[in-house]
């Protein structure tokens, strides 16, 4: 479980203080998923970085399973936008990297890794380098890397945005399958309403200007079978889109 209370982050430059996010309250139940959606520059990435323990100075509290966030104590899987794979390490070494850093050799079970790689369809790619892979394959490696760690929290920054539409949907399905098997509390940032609806149990809409949460929407469609084909899915995504547009337009006018 992740609970965030009254979280604010300010960036200080030499002469200026800039508020990236302010007054954020969120809870994600154990094994739940939350989509964060918002326009560029609204502080989505800042929010994610704060939860990942990458921002040392923030106000408010971020608790993971009851303890204040601490990268040394908890296992926080972070998947950045460009996958963050190391080009100088082979696929298998990239996947093992997290365990090496966590000093968790007990996770280095060959069979488990093999199974995970098979589930992701990358079992033959272990000795390749990331630059030899397609975007979709790199994405799979990045997923293997975070899931192999069995993290307390999984954070994804616009995870599938660099992929073409068809590969993206495929990756979303693969992610859902893995998530169902592993039950990892997940927060991801996206700018695709459809992605938020497909992968998020709840959807937090960030406001365009003030750096706080506009509202949180429960997603009744989550987990249903083939919901992308469902007329309700279209309806809901349209509704969500329109309301977001309205909010963002208001912010522009102000």
């Amino acid at each position: 479980m992740i609970s965030i209370e009254n979280l604010s982050v300010n960036y200080k430059s030499d002469s200026d203080v800039y508020t990236a996010i302010s007054g954020i309250n969120l809870t994600i139940p154990e094994g739940g998923t939350l989509a964060v959606i918002g326009p560029s520059g609204c502080g989505k990435s800042t929010l994610l970085k704060a939860i990942a323990g990458l921002i040392p100075e923030y106000e408010g509290t971020i608790k993971i399973n009851g303890d204040e966030v601490n990268p040394k104590k908890q296992t926080i899987g972070f998947m950045p936008q460009n996958y963050g794979l190391l080009p100088w390490r082979t696929v298998i070494d990239n996947i093992r990297l997290g365990m090496k850093i966590k000093r968790a050799p007990e996770l280095l079970d060959r069979k488990v890794l093999k199974k995970l790689m098979r589930q992701l369809g990358i079992e033959g790619l272990g000795h390749r380098y990331p630059t030899e892979l397609s975007g979709g394959q790199q994405q799979r490696v990045a997923l293997a890397r975070v899931f192999a760690l069995q993290p307390d929290v999984l954070l994804m920054d616009e995870p599938f945005s660099a992929l073409d539409a068809i590969t993206r949907e495929e990756m979303q399905d693969i992610f859902l399958k893995l998530w169902q098997k592993n039950n990892v509390s997940t927060i991801f940032v996206t700018h695709y309403v459809e992605e938020a609806l497909y992968l998020g149990q709840r959807i937090a809409v960030l406001s365009a200007s003030s750096g706080n949460i506009n509202r949180i929407v429960e997603n009744p469609l989550f987990g249903g079978k083939d919901i992308r084909q469902n007329p309700e899915f279209f309806e809901m995504s349209l509704k969500l889109k329109n309301s977001i547009k309205k909010d963002w337009n208001q912010a522009w006018e102000n």
């Binding site: 936008q81 990297l97 966590k102």
Partner: protein, 247 residues
């Protein structure tokens, strides 16, 4: 692949020797002896006279290079990874980088004497700046996203260094050494013309003053081979250490 590369080297050597041969025949003066005579002479005197000189030169380059790496690599890493230190150190580096190092030779000789130390230090000075700047720029070019998954797992600086900073800067670092080495060899030649009786610079100049052109050319050939050995060693190290770049 390896065989093919060696074949090209062989071809280059053959072509250069042919050009040399043709020129020597055309000019027909003792100052450009035929390569056949030079090779004969080289075979004759290499073990007797030249080997010790080439070892001295190699030692000076090796020592200067090691010193430059020992100082330049940590400095480059610090400057690249901690922007605050770069703000302070970059002006220092940029103000001293453009000074022709050879101009400092008189000072070095006063400080360290005319012997080994000033020669090694000269090579150090030439290579170290290139290493610092290359490593720093290599580290600066790493996108932040590369660090985030590691930071979020609580990676220590040691982890970051060995997983990211070292492998990311290694190719730049090797290129810097490759570029700097050519200058270093020329300057080494210059510094070896005084204050020593050993080194390829000394040998070549000494042969010249004795008007022994065959020995002079033998020395030049050995110097060229010395460079070839150094450069191919660097290439080999790069091929092995930066394997991922050739994929």
């Amino acid at each position: 692949m390896g065989k093919l590369v060696s074949a090209w080297y062989l071809l280059a050597a053959v072509v250069l020797t042919l050009v040399w041969f043709v020129v020597s025949k055309l000019v027909d003066l003792p100052i450009i002896p035929s390569p056949v005579l030079v090779v004969e002479n080289l075979a004759d005197i290499f073990m007797k006279y030249i080997a010790i000189h080439s070892l001295y030169s190699l030692w000076r380059i090796g020592a200067g290079l090691l010193l430059a790496v020992a100082v330049g690599l940590p400095l480059g890493v610090i400057m690249g990874y901690f922007p605050q230190t770069d703000r302070f150190l970059a002006p220092v580096v940029y103000l001293t980088y453009p000074i022709p190092k050879i101009a400092l030779l008189p000072i070095l000789m006063l400080l360290f004497g005319v012997g080994e130390l000033s020669k090694v230090f000269m090579i150090f000075l030439i290579i170290v700046f290139q290493v610092v700047v290359a490593v720093r720029d290599g580290i600066r070019a790493i996108p932040n996203e590369t660090y985030y998954p590691l930071y979020s797992l609580g990676a220590s600086f040691k982890d970051i260094f060995f997983e990211v900073l070292w492998p990311a800067s290694l190719p730049k670092f090797i290129t810097a050494i490759r570029v700097a080495l050519a200058t270093a060899i020329s300057v080494l030649f210059f510094t070896e013309t005084f204050g020593t009786q050993y080194g390829m610079g000394y040998f070549i100049m000494d042969a010249w003053l004795r008007v022994n052109y065959l020995e002079m050319y033998s020395g030049i050939v050995v110097l060229s081979l010395l460079g070839l050995i150094l450069f191919t060693t660097i290439d080999l190290i790069e091929r092995n250490a930066c394997h991922w770049q050739y994929k």
